[in-house]
């Protein structure tokens, strides 16, 4: 009980610190950078709920993210610029349903089929968007940022606060799934699905819960994206880098617990922003790829695993 309170205390402090940051800081660059880092972290957290906790790989993160972004564009066209909050609430429902549908059709098969199906869903969604003129088609869609903002000095500060809130929600959801009974069921599926099934774990239902939550969180991360870059086109929204990042973050941090993608997101996000700004975005992509493959091959448990090894060794030495 004590620990639970401490967690919520940290969440509240971080959120208030974020609000304070928007009051104090003036340089918009900080907000753009931290926004990108947090978006990356949410994607990693969402991927990890299915990939890390349950053991099912999703290659189509870009598709879920873009579905969230295009939900915003669609609502923007349909209702002539409704408040962003509505899109942030609708997008996870849309993307959660996509996740549920993909899961329902493929999760009864072996894990690799699910992985390939997610890739297929991403490409099909991209083709649909390219051919759908209402949301801009292949040419893309410009959004004008609303001019009247309440409470904040600029629109990016509002976006920053919003994505901070989404990040904290994602962390809380992920932590809940990790430590609750659902999380134990998911871990059982990851370790031995057949055995879990035999012990009475409702495997299909749990897997569907985890794909739905994964899709919903990714959609939530994508919903503010059109306002963040003000111009959405299919190539950037469905970028493969998004999918690679979503895998790299938990792989670097550690997939077994909820804290892994948080650490991985902070680390990879900071490296990426530094490299993209100071050197080039191609080199940034190369670094992500190499770091991902390096961690998978050499440190499959991520930074959390390395840390646990370190603690264990030190304890042994002290005994």
């Amino acid at each position: 009980m004590m620990k639970l309170n401490k967690f919520w205390l940290v969440i509240a402090v971080v959120f208030l610190a974020g609000i304070g940051f928007t009051v104090v800081a003036d340089n918009e660059f900080y907000f753009y950078t931290t926004y990108a880092v947090m978006q990356l972290m949410i994607m990693g957290i969402a991927w990890n709920i299915l990939g890390g906790f349950t053991g099912y790989v999703n290659f189509g993160s870009g598709g879920f993210f873009a579905a969230g972004a295009y939900t915003t564009v669609f609502l923007h066209r349909l209702f002539d610029g409704p408040p962003l909050l509505i899109a942030v609430l609708v997008a996870p429902i849309v993307c959660g349903l996509i996740g549920l549908a993909v899961g329902y059709f493929t999760l009864r098969l072996k894990g690799v089929y699910f992985a390939i199906a997610t890739l297929a869903v991403a490409i099909i969604l991209e083709t649909v968007v390219i051919n759908w003129e209402f949301v801009g088609g292949a040419g893309g869609y410009y959004l004008l940022i609303p001019e009247n903002i309440v409470f904040f000095d600029s629109y990016i500060e509002w976006l920053f606060t919003l994505i901070l809130a989404i990040t904290l929600i994602a962390i809380a959801v992920s932590r809940y799934l990790n430590s609750s009974k659902i999380g134990q069921g998911l871990a059982a599926i990851r370790d031995d699905e057949l055995a879990a099934e035999c012990m009475g774990v409702p495997t299909l239902r749990l897997k569907l819960i985890s794909t739905t939550v994964m899709g919903g969180l990714m959609g939530m991360a994508g919903a503010p994206f059109p306002y963040f870059i003000t111009f959405v086109e299919p190539v950037s929204a469905f970028n493969l880098l998004i999918a690679v990042n979503a895998i790299a973050v938990p792989m670097i941090g550690g997939t077994a617990s909820w804290i892994g993608p948080v650490i991985g997101g902070l680390l990879l996000g900071t490296i990426q922003e530094t490299v993209t700004v100071n050197i080039s975005s191609e080199l940034n992509m190369l670094i992500v790829g190499v770091v991902l493959v390096g961690f998978i091959s050499l440190a499959p448990q991520g930074i959390v695993g390395l840390y646990q090894d370190f603690i264990r060794k030190r304890r042994k030495r002290n005994d």
Partner: protein
């Protein structure tokens, strides 16, 4: 209308034959060895760029380049498998980490090619590129006809190799019962690395055919992921003849959609078929239930 239809089917057939060459390596590696090499199309694209480099500098015929580089890619494949085995298969982590590993490799290959060659489209020169063979109302461009013939010959060769030779049968055996193969005195790891080598070796030829058919840029490989997996799964996982017929089907489906609905919808065709197959008949059209 009929003329358009017949021509669409004909070019779909040629395209499909070429798809068989691209899917061939994956059919062995994924279908028989159960290794989800999602980076296979990326190796095909490396093959395309090797072909482009040699053709551009020395004017060698693209298909000849592909054949010459087969042994090098074979060795590359063996190296890849050894690494994969040591890092993932031996420790039983192939399902999650192995998948993410190949995904990362695919991404690295793509970024490296962008860094070296940029995102411009590249193509090759050969005498037959640009000419067309006319049979009545049906036009068969040589740039597609030649790859079709080459792909058919290679698919046939691999089929014979797997069904007639000792090593080919060993590859079949390792996919059926690994322990039994071990009891017979053969080393499953050696057999698997040999098979993986063959799989990657076919990728360079497929790459040479690919760049003959249409210009290539580094991210083209992604479009082929869905196609090849659709073909391998539809073809019944590891059946070479099944792979060939499934490839023809996908080729014809794409060509018909491109002709009658619009070229921008064609890439989704294979993925749609793939999802449908996974949902309705995961053992494939030609597979045993």
């Amino acid at each position: 209308m009929i003329e358009l239809f017949i021509n669409a089917v004909a070019s779909g057939l040629l395209l499909g034959g070429f798809y068989a060459a691209v899917a061939l390596g994956l059919s062995i590696v994924f279908g028989r060895l159960d290794i989800v090499n999602i980076a296979h199309p990326a190796f095909v694209i490396i093959g395309s760029y090797v072909t482009f480099y040699i053709n551009d500098n020395f004017g060698l015929d693209p298909i000849v380049v592909g054949l010459i580089f087969m042994p090098i890619f074979f060795l590359l494949g063996i190296g890849m498998y050894r690494f994969y085995y040591v890092c993932f298969e031996r420790t039983g982590q192939e399902s999650l980490s192995g998948l993410a590993y190949f995904f990362g490799i695919m991404f690295i290959i793509e970024v490296l090619l962008i860094l070296v060659y940029g995102v411009d489209y590249r193509n090759v020169q050969a005498d037959y590129v640009g000419k067309t063979l006319w049979i009545g109302i049906v036009g068969l461009p040589y740039r597609m006809l030649v790859p079709f013939i080459a792909a058919t010959v290679i698919t046939g060769g691999v089929y014979l190799y797997l069904s007639k030779t000792y090593l080919g049968r060993a590859i079949l055996a390792v996919s059926q019962d690994r322990v039994a193969l071990q009891l017979m005195g053969a080393d499953p790891i050696k057999v698997k690395q040999w098979a993986f080598g063959i799989g990657i070796a076919t990728a360079v030829v497929a790459g040479a055919l690919l760049i003959t058919i249409h210009p290539v840029e580094p991210s083209v490989g992604r479009l082929y992921i869905g196609r090849v997996f659709a073909i391998v799964i539809l073809g019944g996982m590891g059946s070479i003849s099944g792979t060939f017929f499934a490839a023809l089907m996908i080729g014809i489906a794409e060509s018909l959609i491109a002709t009658f609905i619009g070229p921008s919808w064609a890439p989704a065709a294979a993925y749609g078929i793939l999802l449908l197959t996974l949902a309705v008949r995961p053992q494939g059209l030609f597979g045993r239930a």
